[in-house]
């Protein structure tokens, strides 16, 4: 195995210089999620207006995979519709578990190497689960922080 298959340049870059990191003062939805395996946490704040994700920030501590994935995800969905955000999350999760994904995943496809490591898939999908939960409150079954 070549470690570089997992830790592509883009991933290390997003990990070192995360985009949209921090919190929002008046989010319309805010979700905390936990990866119970490792104790890593993520907090996702979103502002949705007229069916559009107008602002999004994530905060938390985690491995390079989870931080880069969160950073890329926020960039990918900001300015897009709720439907598009949900579609991306769904597609990305399908992509990592080896199922066909309909969406163009853009930079997120750099996380492809992670799919070989089921335990890391959880790291990569944490932010996407948080997004789903923030955009669709019926997804209450995902590991809520409390």
């Amino acid at each position: 195995m070549n470690l570089d298959d997992i830790y592509r340049e883009t991933i290390l870059d997003h990990n070192q210089i995360p985009r949209n990191k921090g919190t929002l003062p008046n989010p319309t939805a805010s979700v905390g999620l936990l990866n119970p395996t490792c104790g890593d946490q993520i907090r996702l704040d979103v502002v949705v207006a007229d069916g559009k994700i107008t602002d999004i920030r994530f905060d938390g501590q985690g491995c390079a995979i989870s931080m880069a994935s969160a950073s890329m995800m926020t960039e990918a969905v900001k300015g897009h519709s709720v439907a598009e955000g949900l579609a991306l999350a769904r597609s990305f999760k399908a992509f990592l578990t080896g199922r066909p994904s309909e969406e163009d995943l853009g930079e997120l496809s750099a996380l492809e190497g992670v799919s070989q490591f089921p335990s890391r898939v959880k790291c990569a999908t944490l932010a996407h689960n948080a997004l789903e939960k923030a955009l669709d409150p019926s997804k209450a079954d995902l590991d809520a922080l409390d």
Partner: protein, 406 residues
């Protein structure tokens, strides 16, 4: 019969063992089944190549172990027509029933409610309910048996009422071989607003299982009675019910967030599997499920019914022998007594001929009281047995009669 049993016998290394100089005739599969070489090899292989703790670490062995364990959950779900996350691994039927009695029962059963059983239950499907009834000040009720050992549906209709919260019955009796009308009891339970817990220890190994068609809310069974290793069992429950259940075993891997005074639970099924599980055992169970699937559970079912009916008919015709339970339509086992010879002495005499049967109360003392005996002898079959083994059984009975009549 599409099973070529002669070929199957060769899959079970222990069957070539000799006992007191005679070929082993193993007729105690209701206690525990023998294991095909493929199952033994799967465990061996796991320890030699893959062994690691699951869910915990990022390294290759841990990833492989985690996947191997998860794969068996899916195999198990497929085997009983359920969803993978509805499958909880336990040590065996006993722990499975205790888990539902405590995890579901303590939450749902209130003082004055009742829990409905039958008099033929194994202690493992009886004492957890006695204890639940005590804890929750609920009543224990029994659906009576008809004189032939079949369940009285009339009694079922009388006993199950609006205060019934749980009904717990075996699908097949481990003593009488009785096949219980699970679907009918399920409907009665559901009409009353109760859930049905099915003890599948003696049925899941021997027939195709479909939890949906069966109408069960929970199903418990043991790997060791179906070609799998000891120390593995299953509790299946409908997801809607599992969500209302409290965890019972607390510790590692069943939590989400923990601080000094408080903890939140992991998702289902992890929530119900605290601590390091029997990983190698579960992997071996996977090989057992694959083995059985390859033979085909429909084939197994037809073959086991055939052996059960045949054994019943042969023993029924012997003089000085009492056969218990219903007619030929039964699970693959026969309980009997030889006039004037205690079943322990019968089993001892059989052993001298290499024939392994069980004698005793079969963990069903209330049923022994119902039968009016202290104990019975029991011959039970599995897919590696054949018609010749029934001949051996009949011969052993005849020679035992002669031996103790001298």
């Amino acid at each position: 019969m599409t099973i070529a049993v002669q070929d199957l016998k060769a899959d079970f290394p222990i069957l070539s063992r000799s006992i007191h100089g005679q070929r082993l005739t193993y007729l105690d599969s209701a206690a525990t089944s023998q294991k095909p070489a493929a199952v033994i090899a799967a465990e061996l292989d796991y320890y030699q190549k893959t062994n690691a703790n699951i869910l915990r670490s990022v390294h290759t062995l841990a990833e492989e172990s985690t996947l191997a364990y998860a794969k068996v959950r899916t195999l198990t779900a497929d085997f009983i027509h359920a969803q993978a996350d509805e499958v909880i691994f336990t040590r065996g039927t006993t722990e499975s029933i205790n888990l539902v009695a405590r995890g579901y029962g303590d939450v749902h059963v209130r003082p004055g409610d009742n829990i409905v059983l039958t008099p033929l239950e194994h202690h493992s499907n009886l004492i957890p309910w006695q204890q639940l009834a005590k804890r929750q000040q609920a009543d224990l009720r029994y659906i009576e048996l008809r004189p032939d050992g079949n369940l009285s549906l009339e009694s079922a209709r009388q006993v199950i009422d609006s205060r019934t919260k749980m009904v717990a019955i075996a699908q097949v009796s481990n003593v009488l071989g009785t096949i219980l009308p699970v679907r009918t009891v399920a409907d009665l339970a559901h009409q009353a607003g109760a859930v049905l817990v099915v003890d599948g220890a003696q049925s899941v190994p021997h027939q195709a299982t479909d939890v949906v068609a069966m109408g069960a809310d929970f199903l418990a069974f043991s790997a060791h009675k179906m070609c799998g290793p000891t120390g593995v069992g299953v509790l299946w429950g409908k997801m809607a019910h599992l969500k209302t259940m409290s965890p019972v075993l607390f510790g590692g891997e069943m939590i989400a967030y923990v601080d000094r005074d408080h903890a939140t639970w992991a998702d289902i099924p992890a929530r119900f599997e605290g601590g390091t599980p029997n990983i190698a055992g579960v992997v071996g169970f996977g090989a057992a499920l694959e083995y059985l699937a390859e033979v085909g559970m429909d084939n197994v079912g037809a073959y086991m019914s055939h052996l059960g009916a045949l054994a019943f008919q042969r023993l029924q015709n012997l003089s000085g022998v009492t056969v218990y339970g219903p007619g030929p339509d039964r699970g693959p086992l026969v309980s009997f007594n030889i006039d004037g010879v205690h079943p322990h002495d019968v089993a001892q005499a059989f052993d001298a001929k290499g024939v392994a049967i069980r004698a005793g109360h079969h963990c069903a003392q209330p049923l022994m009281h119902w039968l009016g005996v202290n104990a019975t002898a029991r011959a039970s079959f599995y897919l590696y047995n054949d018609i010749d083994d029934i001949d051996v059984l009949v011969d052993a009975i005849e020679s035992t009669k002669r031996y103790f009549a001298r």
